[in-house]
């Protein structure tokens, strides 16, 4: 029998922010309580084993009706890769037009996840 530990988390699945208690034994999740829906359970299990986040930022646009376009990682990336991801976007400049969903950077910071535009910027 391994040691039983508990970790308290606040669910971020939705604005309810349920207080979660995760009970673990030998690195394995044995129970999640405090959640009101399935998302809380999924979040808690992931958060204690492999925490990930969707990262949002901006990149420069040339020749567009705005100087910046907002972007996001198409899927969530490991929490530890957030800064590397944002850093990789600093030097990126894309030509207008850009449309929602366009892939602007492939495989950002070696995460296997693409950066996509979240706003339309038209050429001028």
């Amino acid at each position: 029998m391994g040691t039983v530990t508990t970790r308290e988390l606040t669910c971020i699945g939705c604005p309810m922010g349920c207080p979660l208690i995760v009970t673990m034994e030998a690195g394995e999740v044995i129970s999640v309580t405090g959640n009101t829906c399935k998302r809380g359970d999924v979040y808690a299990r992931k958060e204690v084993t492999n925490p990930t986040r969707i990262v949002t930022s901006t990149v420069r646009v040339s020749g567009g009706d705005a100087d910046m376009v907002s972007v996001k990682t198409k899927e969530d990336i490991p929490k530890g890769k957030i800064f590397e991801c944002v850093k990789a976007l600093k030097s990126v400049e894309v030509p207008a037009p850009v449309h929602i969903g366009d892939v602007l950077v492939k495989d950002v910071a070696g995460t296997g996840v693409d950066i996509v535009a979240t706003k339309n910027v038209e050429s001028i």
């Binding site: 988390l9 606040t10 669910c11 971020i12 699945g13 939705c14 604005p15 922010g17 986040r53 969707i54 990262v55 949002t56 930022s57 901006t58 420069r60 705005a66 100087d67 910046m68 907002s70 972007v71 996001k72 929490k79 957030i82 800064f83 944002v86 929602i100 979240t118 706003k119 339309n120």
Partner: protein, 430 residues
């Protein structure tokens, strides 16, 4: 003078959803007036995700959420004017506006939907002592600079106020290379959503100091530092608790105020608690045919609820216009004079309700009453009384001022209580 059946003031999330809803309810002749260079309002600078879980069942960023509604407005061919500032609306619904192409012009509206949103409480309104150096921004201004203009407002940052924009900006500034030293909150609880505290502060080890405020700003040309002090139960700084922080930037996230100069000017009755118009079940103000929705009515945490509210306002504005166009008998029948209005009475922990009154004859089958509480209550009940009788008693593990609450009422339920005068909404401790 040009005429439109419905004129919508503001092309942000509320105005867009109201326009779509009014069109879907049969009104062709709609005009949206927007002062910015594009539709979408504040969502355009809210590049973080988490929008739309209720509306679209997926997590979108602000611009994506706005984009969905902008596309609907475009597809429906709804007219809009950008770069257009509304100066005044008369009580008989003549809208005076201006832009560079047309100069000053007037429009006669059949119905008006107020959707101007809100603005941030400024330093002046906070009475923080000290010089007036550069480097003090509202969190929303900093957000616009970073996310839309591509400028960093500073490198060493203190944030006063733990509202959602402040929390979001703590993370954003950190990601862009700034050092956010502390987020200070006057109240003993955060005004922001829990998920934002987790994702924006805890993830980046940014300390949150509750019951603290800025008591001094140092620096003449540029902010050089601030003094933070703990406050007592009444919000007064406690002598001897001062701490110095060096920083070049102070961001203020100290609350949002509905932007109602135009509403007041036209004689709309205001609710002193929300700083927004008082409205009935149709989200109609005391001026017939003038509706309000979104942050101009009361400040929301979730854009999904803004869209939902705006949809109701748009539908009711459409009904109003259709009734105007029907014969006058019908119009008299719909006048609000004839049926007794039920007054909603927020007490004991409930600060306000939207709407303020309900006319059961005019209400839809289902009505959402939104409200905010004045403090943090754990293991409490949200209770609703029809006059003396308790009809709703809903257990809640926690309610907090930062998260808007709602209760649902049905027409069927209200019709069972003829002569009902007051609906009281309160928090009851277990």
């Amino acid at each position: 003078m040009k005429t439109y059946d419905i004129v919508i003031i503001g092309g942000g999330p509320a105005g867009l959803a109201a326009a779509v809803s009014a069109r879907e309810n049969g009104i062709q002749d709609i005009l949206i007036l927007e002062r910015d260079k594009e539709l979408g309002g504040i969502l355009n600078q809210c590049i973080h995700n988490g929008f739309g879980l209720h509306t679209f069942k997926e997590e979108l960023t602000g611009p994506e959420y706005a984009g969905r509604f902008i596309k609907q407005v475009m597809d429906l061919g709804i007219e809009y004017k950008l770069h257009t500032m509304v100066m005044d609306i008369s009580s008989d619904k003549i809208v005076t506006a201006m832009n560079r192409e047309e100069g000053l012009f007037e429009i006669q509206a059949g119905a008006v939907i107020l959707a101007m949103g809100c603005r941030e409480r400024s330093r002046g309104a906070l009475n923080i002592p000290g010089y007036r150096p550069a480097g003090i921004y509202s969190a929303g201004t900093a957000q616009r600079l970073v996310n839309m203009e591509g400028y960093m407002p500073g490198r060493e940052v203190v944030i006063l106020g733990s509202g959602d924009i402040g929390l979001i900006m703590a993370r954003r500034m950190t990601l862009e290379g700034a050092k956010v030293k502390v987020v200070a909150e006057l109240m003993p609880y955060s005004g922001g959503l829990k998920r934002n505290i987790v994702q924006c502060l805890n993830d980046y080890d940014i300390p949150l100091k509750l019951s603290h405020t800025v008591v001094d700003i140092k620096g003449k040309e540029r902010v050089e530092g601030i003094t933070l002090a703990e406050v007592d139960g009444k919000g007064k700084p406690i002598p001897g608790t001062e701490e110095e922080y060096t920083c070049d930037t102070l961001l203020l996230s100290c609350g949002l105020i509905p932007e109602n100069e135009i509403s007041r000017g036209m004689g709309v009755d205001m609710n002193p608690v929300t700083s927004g118009p008082k409205v009935n079940e149709s989200l109609e103000t005391n001026i017939e045919g003038v509706f309000a929705c979104g942050n101009v009515l009361h400040v929301h945490d979730l854009v999904d609820f803004v869209s939902e509210e705006a949809k109701t306002a748009g539908r009711n504005a459409a009904e109003y216009v259709k009734n105007l166009q029907a014969d006058t008998d019908d119009r008299d029948k719909h006048s609000r004079e004839e049926a007794a209005e039920i007054v909603l009475n927020p007490v004991e922990g409930v600060r306000y309700t939207v709407p303020s009154t309900i006319n059961p004859v005019h209400m839809d089958e289902n009505l959402t009453v939104r409200f905010r509480v004045g403090g943090v209550y754990k293991n409490c009940y949200v209770s609703v009384y029809f006059d003396e009788e308790r009809v709703i008693h809903k257990k809640r593990p926690v309610v907090a001022p930062g998260e808007m609450e709602q209760i649902k009422l049905t027409k069927e339920q209200l019709m069972k209580y003829p002569g009902l005068k007051t609906i009281t909404v309160k928090i009851e401790e277990a």
